[in-house]
Amino acid sequence: MAFGVMGVVNLSHGDFVMLGAFLTYWLFTLAGFDPFLTLPFSLIALFFLGFFLQRLAINRLVGAPPIMSYLLTFGFHLVLTNLALRVWTADYRTVKTSYSGLNLNLLGVVLPYSRLATFALAMVVILGLYLFIYRTEMGRAIRATAQDREMARLMGVKIFRIYTFTFALATGITGLAGSLISTTFVLYPQMGLPFTITAFCVVVLGGMGYIPGTLWGGMVLGVFESLTTTYLTAGISLALSFFLLLLILVIRPAGLFGKGIVE
């Protein structure tokens, strides 16, 4: 979404996941909040973080070649990850609630409740985002800006506000995602990077800027990774994922559906 609207690629994306997850962790550990209750906090806190980052830095990059945004956001990534390492140390942490170990046994497949809840909530968020983008006034403004910046501006859309809002929204949701996964994954400061990379692969697969594509891209990549990891090794799986990315970029840069923005 952020890319489609502004042409900005955010390489610190995964770190927002990490921040959301850690926020949940600290709220859980220090204040006893149930992880799922921390969701609104993550959303809002990271929304503001995104807001400030956009206002202070990213807005300056809108006309510049995408490379600059890669570099800038990579700079953010370095700062965020290593600051987190400095402050929170590299220890692994987990969020274990009373229901962490409980599973649902469905036809022989074990489904942990926390993962089910995460999945359900994730779908809710995606649906919510979809509705927002396609059914509301603001969503329309965002889409318009993504399609034709100049025209949108001429029609009265305040471009920079849209940018700021879009990025803040994207960041907020990412933080939310972080909180969601805190129950499922192990937390550590460098956890952001694999997410950034995965998110990237998903977006490129689905077509950059094309929101429905991310859903499919995510599923394709998820299945691909699971299969390769199960039948080969995790390391090979990673290598193959990269080859897949490379392949898509060379053969079909616009993504599976051909609807991505190819600059």
Binding site: A57, I67, R86, V262
Partner: protein, 318 residues
């Protein structure tokens, strides 16, 4: 007749290179040794690496996010040629350079047709893939070749001074090459691509061919330097020689110093290497935070880098 040549005439550059070479070359004779010798060698290496990256990305504007791939391949290539092939050091480095040339040709041809942003992603993916391959190859193929995560151990290395001079040579080579390149027809082609690729193409510049040539050149040299480091360190593992932080450093050093300038990588690499020694000694995180901060500040405030801003102030072209 005043020709609009690049600001610093060739004579000047030659002078700087020679005097610099003589001064640096004789330092060990005047008692430079131990920690300081090693540090300076490290600076030379990074200037050379950043310089290579600059040759391609600084001048064409196509930001390569995967140069460490060739550093790693060069390291492993040299290591294997020396260990399993029993070949002498210089020959191994030379051959590794050629291996990287071939590899970069294979990677560059398809990816350089893409737009800049996609090229960046693609090169990053290629580098990571290569790292994984080296890591996993033995396990999958049931061989004892690359040593997997345990890495490889090379024959014992000659004294530090040897590497000082080898790296000094590479630094001089690359800085000199960059200076030469800048004034040449090839250099204009590169810059035209950076400024306005389609207009360049329409003016007769064979953009794909030039991009590929620059990429292969830079990558081969990076491979050679990787080979030198392998011998220098004596022990290499994938996590070290394929570490993405090397890419980051190459990029940051060039950004800071000034992309597309001859002296940019020299300034940027020297500065950051010295800082890393100072900061990295305590907490490596501090250095990384610093690097991240440098990147952010340079992008926002000083996108031309130090040299670039200096040149711009004086009205000279990049």
């Amino acid at each position: 007749m005043t020709m609009s040549r690049h600001p610093l005439p060739s004579r000047y550059i030659l002078f700087v290179l020679l005097t610099g070479g003589i001064i640096l070359g004789t330092l060990p004779l005047f008692g430079l040794e131990g920690y300081r010798l090693r540090l300076l060698s490290l600076v030379f290496m990074w200037v050379a690496l950043a310089g290579c990256w600059n040759m391609m990305s600084g001048y064409t504007g196509y930001i390569d996010f995967g140069p460490v791939a060739y550093f790693g391949v060069g390291s492993y290539g040299t290591a294997i040629l020396m260990i399993k092939g029993g070949l002498p050091f210089f020959l191994s480095v030379f051959l590794s350079g050629w291996i990287c040339a071939g590899l970069s040709l294979a990677v560059g041809l398809p990816t350089l047709r893409l737009q800049g942003a996609y090229f960046a992603i693609a090169t990053f993916a290629a580098a990571e893939a290569m790292k994984q391959v080296i890591l996993e190859w033995d396990g999958v193929a049931g061989l004892e070749f690359f040593g997997g995560a345990h890495g490889l151990t090379l024959p014992p290395a000659p004294p530090e001074v040897f590497f000082y001079y080898v790296l000094l040579f590479f630094m001089g080579l690359i800085v000199g090459l960059t200076a030469l390149l800048e004034r040449s027809k090839f250099g204009y082609g590169l810059r035209a691509i950076r400024e306005a690729e389609q207009a360049a193409e329409l003016s007769g510049v064979p953009t794909l061919g030039i991009k590929v040539r620059a990429y292969v050149l830079a990558s081969s040299l990076i491979g050679c330097i990787g080979g030198v480091e392998a011998y220098w360190l004596t022990y290499i593992i994938p996590d070290d020689v394929f570490n993405v932080m090397r890419t980051i450093q190459m990029i940051t050093m060039t950004l800071l110093g000034g992309m597309g300038t001859v002296l940019g990588p020299v300034i940027g690499a020297s500065f950051l290497t010295l800082i890393s020694e100072y900061l990295g000694a305590k907490f490596v995180y501090d250095y990384l935070i610093f690097v991240g901060g440098v990147i952010v500040i340079v992008i926002l405030l000083l996108p031309q880098g130090i040299m670039g801003t200096v040149l711009r102030k004086k009205g000279w072209s990049r």
